[in-house]
């Protein structure tokens, strides 16, 4: 079982990487993109005996305590078999 964890900047937090990448895509003539936000993607593989409920708890605790900064980032995750 694994967790796919997505971390992104909260709205209003400056994301210069996203802004610059968006500009760069425009410069190579890719059109139709309003904005780009660049965050982090983390894959977390669990021990074999971990239940889905426990996996959720572990992912939640990890995000809360370390993986995301509550001041600047939000997180979400999907647990997959």
């Amino acid at each position: 079982m694994k967790a796919k964890i997505y971390i992104k900047y909260k709205e209003g937090i400056l994301d210069p990487q996203g802004t610059v990448t968006n500009k760069a895509l425009k410069s190579i003539d890719i059109k139709g993109i309003e904005s780009i936000g660049i965050g982090k993607y983390i894959e977390m593989e669990f021990d074999k005996n971990i239940s889905k409920d426990d996996a959720k708890k572990i992912a939640e605790e990890s995000c809360k305590k370390m993986l995301a900064n509550p001041n600047t980032e939000t997180y979400s995750y999907i647990i997959e078999d």
Binding site: I13, L14, P16, Q17, V20, M66, L67, N69, N71, T72
Partner: protein
Amino acid sequence: MKFAVIVFPGSNCDYDAYYALKNIGFDVEFVWHRNTSSLSNFDGIFIPGGFSYGDYLRTGAIAKFSPVMKSIKEESKKGKIIIGVCNGFQILVESELLPGSLINNKNIKFLSKQVKLRVKTFNSIFTKSIEKEYLKMPIAHKQGNFIADSDTLQTLKDNDQILFEYDINPNGSMLNIAGITNKKRNILGMMPHPERASNSLLGSEDGKYIFESLIKNYV
């Protein structure tokens, strides 16, 4: 007055800090980040700049769980002097010993240059005896853009917690913030490097005034 300079894997201003503090007249000892014993025998704690844990995940995000941080938090509650410079400042905000966050510079560049700082308040042990309004010292960071919500910014202003501001904002920091203190005024976090500006051979001695102020006013 005896200072501990904390060393993390990836710290790279630890010797600069040691040298600068020693030259002013402090006793200084390095303390490895895995240290679990109390830091109560030190009068001050210096968290130096560098790239603790390679800046993995976020600057300071892993260092804040190093065993030594437990003792630093205990000492901070007692009102002990704590200085975090650059990565040290990032570790202090991650640990919530200081408010706010430090995110990517507005222009995403790693900035390494001399900057001019304004001493915003002389109402702190770190600035009390500084005799100049403007100080010159280097910055060297990519994540030095200080941000906080409006309530936090208002509190910082109301409590006179902003100690240093940039004359010309290099990184996008809100309110031009270069250095702040906590409500109790025993902790200093700043992005510019006073320890690298403590000898005229290095282009500026202005950083020394902060340490001199500390040694003069420490009771």
